[in-house]
Symmetry: C2
Subunit: 347 residues, 2 copies
């Protein structure tokens, strides 16, 4: 975010053109921010939430023309309109709705406030959402780094970095923190087929920060473990159940099994908001199946026969038994049991 | 092969344009066949050997112009020239040299034969090499199919089919045979990054034969096993040691570990010529590392940062402990021990 509540705008990295181009989007209208969310130029649950919060502020700016005297009635009407508009950008993103509702709640909590003061207050709230996310990432980074072995290779899967959050990411924050603390780690990044978030985004973030890193295909994870190159694996999570089963990007389960076979610690790092305590077991988590072209057309080029039958689950889950510890901003859950999950989360 | 020893030619499928195009190459000059081998239009050790044997015959045809009276001296000179030329097409292909030497040996064994008769005899030898390869594939198919469970999903990795051999392939032959025998199998094909032989070639062969099949990314193998979809896995091998450690396409080791964890039988199918009894352990097998662009540019499109560090081993090996049985044309090696390897191979 740059400048004040009336003239400021949100600067975003366009993730769709990484890693070959670094392009910034100037989110100076709510339409630009809507498009960025819609077209996955900004992705990752926490990052989407932060973008939407600032999107509310940007969407209210047109009311405040020079000399205009904006009434609370006009303001609330525009706020409702902008909130509805932004909520339609990605209908399944939980963090999006959460951030928008939090912004609307601020208005409800201050019914007597003037439009101009409320606009100021909403920018403060958006900044608070961002700051809280950064603080959460920092905690995940510290806790995670404390578990990672020094002078060691660390395997990771998918992207969990600064591109997906306002801060240093979740699992990625542990890598960044361990590197900054001089732990001499070398990161092996699974490319993460089909969408290659590891190759495109994680490698880019690692290289940006000067963290020593090597890209491998998902099928090489077992081999690098056998060669003794890996001291620990760390991944993020999309949803974690009460007993600690952790759903994450497809391929995570295989990494967990390979770690188990090679007696390598397997860590999951995720904010406490990722836990869904209404579910006990991972098998209750519905698994999204995505379009077949993600597999048949890598890089947009057809490399499988026309009409090929494809199975494309977007997620799998690592069962609690295969997870050495779950890192949250509230503390480390180890061993991973339902009792420990509930204890750490209620701390 | 079509027509006789003087006018015949070798018809090949151009594997480089599969699966989006089915293009045949007319191997009617030795230069065409040389190019096909060089440019990987024909690949797979047995298939290369067969192509080279026919290449010798084609390369001698220009001697036999209408009315020409070819002397044995001229013939032997041209044979040596063609053999040397073909041997340069792929300098590391063991089967290529083996096939060329076998053709040259025929000439040496028949010093008194006329050029015209020897040309006929060389075509017979090339056909014998092809026939033996087909018979080997058929035996591998029968033995392999006898091990595969009925009404079951079968996982395979890389390509081991008719495109790599003159017959039905090695591991692929077991799938083809089980299907033909009405075993009601459903094949899950790993796409096999980085070069996608599973997506491009195995899926094409499976669909050509009407074998029910589904393409998955390598990272999904664990998930389909956990879902109970897989009753057995079967793969080929590039080299097998005396104790039964089997080197094969990268990712094979991970499949073997995942099978072990899920208590799923893991089979290797390979001709006895694949065994290298001078080596005891898999770790003595040198592992070829290939260019990084295979990983950074899937489908020829750059999808990793410029300058990204890459590790690209072309092979790994499944240790004997993780292999339920090795299928050879001489019989089934089970359990996989050095004693059993030597016993079956010397049968």
């Amino acid at each position: 975010w740059q400048a004040d509540e009336l003239t400021g705008s949100l600067k975003l990295i366009d993730q769709t053109v990484l890693p070959t181009q670094l392009k910034h989007i100037d989110g100076n209208t709510v339409e630009h921010i809507w498009e960025a969310i819609k077209q996955l130029k900004v992705r990752g649950a926490p990052a989407i939430g932060v973008a939407a919060a600032y999107g509310i502020v940007v969407g209210l700016q047109p009311l405040f023309q020079p000399g205009a005297d904006v009434s609370r009635g006009e303001f609330d009407q525009q706020l409702a309109k902008v909130a509805r508009y932004l909520a339609e950008s990605r209908p399944t993103a939980v963090n999006l709705f959460w951030a928008i509702q939090r912004m609307e709640q601020v208005a409800k909590d201050h019914p007597q406030m003037s439009a101009a003061d409320l606009q100021k207050r909403l920018l403060v709230e958006a900044q608070a959402i961002e700051t809280e996310d950064r603080a959460m990432c920092a905690r995940l980074g510290e806790f995670g780094a404390s578990l990672l072995p020094a002078n060691s290779g660390i395997l990771t899967h998918c992207n969990t970095g600064g591109l997906a959050t306002a801060g240093d990411g979740t699992a990625f924050a542990a890598l960044a923190h361990a590197h900054a603390a001089g732990k001499q780690i070398h990161v092996y990044a699974d490319e993460t087929r089909p969408l290659l978030q590891g190759a495109r985004l994680t490698m880019w973030e690692l290289m940006q920060r000067g963290i020593p890193c090597t890209l491998i295909t998902d099928s090489m994870a077992g081999q690098v473990m056998k060669e003794g190159r890996i001291g620990a694996a760390i991944v993020g999570a999309d949803r974690i159940t009460a007993r600690g089963d952790a759903a994450n990007k497809i391929g995570t389960y295989s990494v967990a099994v390979l770690c188990h076979y090679h007696k390598i610690p397997f860590y999951v790092s995720a904010p406490s908001s990722t836990f869904d305590l209404t579910l006990l077991e991972g098998k209750s988590i519905p698994i999204e199946e995505r379009v077949s072209t993600e597999i048949t057309h890598p890089g947009g080029v057809q490399l499988a026969p026309t009409g090929a039958n494809v199975y494309n689950p977007a997620f799998d889950f690592a069962p609690a038994e295969l997870i050495t510890a779950i890192i949250t901003e509230k503390g480390i859950i180890q061993p991973v049991t339902e009792a420990n999950v509930r204890k750490v989360l209620s701390a």
